[in-house]
């Protein structure tokens, strides 16, 4: 057989949104050009999600809430751990995407991916412990059994950090879903490809469709309808600029959304730091049950 002289032509991937467990294109039919961190080399076209895509994602997320929040904490922990297992097997792909997206060396990008895998493990362990740490019996002064337990708030819109395209992304998604919430995630505007690829991992990790929905496009354009949406319970403004954050927080007030303000505008936090529990408790309600003791 004759070997071809020409080098093999690689197959490009069409990046799509991840909504309701499926991979649709934007209903708007729009895409935008994604380049590497230096802005020179074209990497791919990403879907430019519309307001309608955002609303569709909220519908998918809401549908997923009863099943996911009703699953046992143990089950959710196993699913999050399964995400870590699946990601571990695709470390090289993500390291490549992260290196391109963030202009990192191969080794530094790989470290980001490893840290992201470990972050899934960290939150997998929290699913069945957070209630024991933030809930408990209250010794009220009377003959009553009184117990406080945390419950998920519902649908959380998440603006992923703009710079840390993968470790930062995982660090904001995992705590939302660990406790039983569903998430609508707006990926980093400039570097959305790792986020869109994460959808492929989530889709094969026993995570029910709709628990995480990933949108790419203009953060401000997608975030506005999410912040104003009456069926969204909370919004994480991590990836918002200072100006956008204020605007969105104002819109979120309309149905009294739980709001997490960006610690640093755009989400340029140190994502390698100990994550603590703050991102878990931000999306929890506390329910206290009273029952009389007597006769």
């Amino acid at each position: 057989m004759k070997t071809s002289e020409a080098p093999r032509l690689s197959v490009f991937k069409t990046y799509k949104l991840y909504v309701g467990g499926k991979f649709p294109r934007s209903e708007s039919g729009r895409v935008y050009e994604v380049t590497d961190s230096k802005g020179g080399t074209w990497l791919a076209n990403a879907p430019l999600a519309s307001r309608k895509d955002a609303r569709d994602a909220v519908v998918a997320a809401r549908k997923a809430v009863p099943g996911w929040s009703g699953a046992t904490a143990y089950n959710r922990g196993q699913v999050l751990y399964r995400v870590a297992e699946m990601l571990e097997g695709r470390r090289e792909q993500f390291a490549r995407e992260v290196a391109d997206a963030e202009g990192l060396s191969k080794a530094k990008a790989a470290a980001q991916v490893d840290a992201a895998v470990d972050r899934w493990v960290w939150y997998a362990g929290w699913t069945d412990k957070i209630a024991q740490v933030v809930g408990g019996a209250n010794p009220v002064a009377g003959p009553f059994f009184n117990l406080s337990t945390p419950e998920p708030t519902g649908v959380v819109a998440v603006l992923a950090p703009q710079e840390s395209s993968f470790l930062g992304l995982v660090s904001v998604i995992a705590p939302v879903i660990a406790t039983g919430n569903a998430a609508v995630v707006v990926a980093s505007e400039r570097a959305p490809l790792p986020a869109l690829s994460l959808g492929e991992v989530l889709a094969t990790s026993d995570l029910p469709g709709g628990v995480v929905n990933v949108l790419s496009g203009r953060t401000a354009e997608i975030a506005a309808p999410l912040a104003a949406h009456q069926d969204v319970n909370a919004i994480d403004l991590t990836g918002a600029s200072a100006e956008l954050a204020v605007e969105l927080e104002r819109a979120a007030a309309d149905n009294v959304k739980r709001v997490r303000r960006p610690a640093v505008p755009g989400g340029a936090e140190d994502w390698t730091a100990d994550p603590g529990t703050g991102r878990l408790t931000a999306w929890l309600e506390t329910k206290t049950v009273w029952h009389p003791i007597g006769s």
Binding site: Y74, V121, G125, W126, D128, Q132, P143, D274, I293
Partner: protein, 507 residues
């Protein structure tokens, strides 16, 4: 009696034992390797349902205990210094491998212990894996557990477990010990050594560093040597109250931390407003689960006088449907008694019950010819003075007492040196809570019984022991009370030396 209360005819449905690959002999697991006992002694482990010899197992002596404790001591330095997240990942691996191999281990456990495959398959093994999964997650979260900042491990834990739930008791011991950074030397019971040795193989597959887990098969002498060894910083024991007291005496005056999970004589209290059918299921589960070889078994039924006849009629009908026989048959409800010694103890106490004047009843029940068996048995007319109301029988024998008022029920329930568990059956929530608050027992089940979960602490009051296993509380027994020296930050992003990822080293 109508036909619906009779046993349905059925064909045997035995689980295949081909999934278990048993070797003719097994060594001790010390420092990551299987090894013979120093003096070469071995003993046989038999299947209690057939009396067939399953394998020969090395019998640990004092020299082996010393070797194992030293191996665990050497392993402690590196293991306790690992970032919690990395320790946790080893435990997650173990949990996943246990899930993968759960059918094999369930069959093995049924063979060696005699308990029904339905229980090993649906209860023991899933709970074992869940326990490791739960504590895996704690390894990097100890600062949040409420036991002070920067809690530190103790050192080498000497752990002794009973034969009634061999692998589950192993999980209760090893998972929290490893998560908190301790290393362990574990001695399984002499009648059920096999699943612990298979667990050693799970540790190998998980790439666990050598010496972190050591398994010593043997008898009480090995257990006593382990408790007394000066290299042991923590003793964890599950078993009889008599041995628990001996252990407490041995460690007196040392700095060893001790947790004891001992015997029980649980009251299962049925009020007149209880959902009777549900209560009867709970009574049956409470005393006949695992042949009654359960420290928290509901072995004293306290039934309100006004519903006594109704409850007893329903209970006897239900008991008549229980199937006793081949543990590997998926239809079996009650398997074999674990050993001839245990069978003799149960038989002697049941005879004492009759001799002291209680009325004995058992359903017509054909028992297999070989193996160790005891039919599900009920005693009525039992008083609080009877031995069968006071002593732990640890078999499928239920003593029935009556009461008139809630106060009398509480009084009788608490009239025991034990205090492990209790059950309450009533539709009235406020009564559940008031009775529960007065019971001197570590676990109280309301309108259910024998429920276990890795997140839920378990352990007794009074002579049922002290310390809790399971849940956040289960960490405490493996952590230092004093604020220890500050170690390297356990942040889970910390780079490991050589860029090598822990665990790939030992594979």
């Amino acid at each position: 009696m109508t036909s619906t209360h009779q046993k349905f005819a059925y064909a045997p449905a035995p689980e295949s034992r081909a999934i278990v690959d048993l070797a003719p002999s097994y060594g001790l697991f010390i420092d990551g390797e299987f090894t013979e006992a120093a003096d070469g002694t071995v003993f046989k482990t038999v299947s209690p349902s057939t009396e067939e010899v399953l394998a020969e197992v090395a019998r640990a002596g004092e020299a082996d205990v010393d070797r194992a404790v030293k191996a665990a001591g050497r392993a402690f330095t590196k293991w306790s210094a690992l970032p919690g997240a990395e320790r946790g990942k080893y435990l997650f691996r173990i949990a996943r491998i246990l899930q993968e191999r759960s059918r094999e281990l369930a069959v093995l456990e049924s063979l060696d212990n005699g308990k029904p495959i339905r229980e090993t398959r649906d209860f023991d093994l899933p709970t074992v894996a869940a326990h490791f999964f739960y504590y895996a997650g704690w390894a990097d979260k100890l600062d949040y557990a409420g036991y002070g900042p920067n809690p530190r491990p103790l050192g080498v834990a000497g752990q002794i477990i009973p034969w009634n739930f061999p692998l589950l008791m192993l999980a209760w011991k090893i998972a929290p010990a490893l998560a908190t950074g301790n290393t362990v030397v574990l001695k399984p019971a002499e009648t059920t050594p096999l699943s612990a040795l298979f667990f050693a193989d799970v540790c190998r597959q998980a790439g666990l560093p050598r010496g972190v887990v050591n398994i010593l098969t043997g008898y009480g002498d090995a257990g006593a040597a382990l408790v007394a060894h000066e290299g042991v910083a923590k003793v964890a024991f599950t078993g009889s109250t008599a041995v628990g007291k001996a252990i407490a005496r041995t460690v007196a005056g040392t700095r060893k931390k001790v947790t004891l999970e001992l015997g029980g004589k649980a009251a299962n209290i049925v009020f007149d407003d209880a959902p009777i059918d549900q209560a009867v299921e709970g009574i049956v589960n409470g005393i006949f689960f695992n042949q009654g070889h359960v420290c928290c078994a509901g072995s004293r039924l306290l039934v309100q006088e006004s519903v006594q006849d109704e409850v007893l009629d329903a209970l006897k009908r239900r008991m008549s449907t229980l199937r006793v026989g081949d543990p590997l048959d998926k239809n079996t409800d009650i398997g074999a008694i674990n050993s001839p010694e245990q069978l003799a103890r149960i038989t002697a106490l049941a005879e004492a019950g009759e001799a002291e004047g209680a009325e004995r009843w058992a359903p017509a029940c054909e028992l297999p010819e070989s193996g160790y068996w005891f039919a599900p048995t009920l005693f009525t007319g039992v008083t609080q003075a009877h031995r069968i109301a006071r002593e732990e029988i640890f078999g499928p024998v239920l003593s029935v007492l009556t009461f008139r008022t809630p106060a009398e029920a509480v009084e009788k329930a608490n009239n025991t040196p034990y205090g492990l568990s209790a059950g309450i059956w009533t539709e009235k929530g406020s009564r559940i809570l008031s009775v529960a608050s007065k019971l001197r027992a570590g676990v109280v089940w309301a309108n259910t019984f024998n429920k276990f979960d890795p997140t839920s602490p378990f352990g007794g009051y009074k002579e049922s022991g002290h310390g809790r296993e399971g849940g956040r509380h289960g960490l405490e027994g493996y952590l230092s009370e004093a604020a220890g020296p500050t170690s390297a930050h356990d942040g889970h992003l910390q780079a490991l030396p050589g860029g090598e990822r822990e665990g790939e080293r030992d594979r």
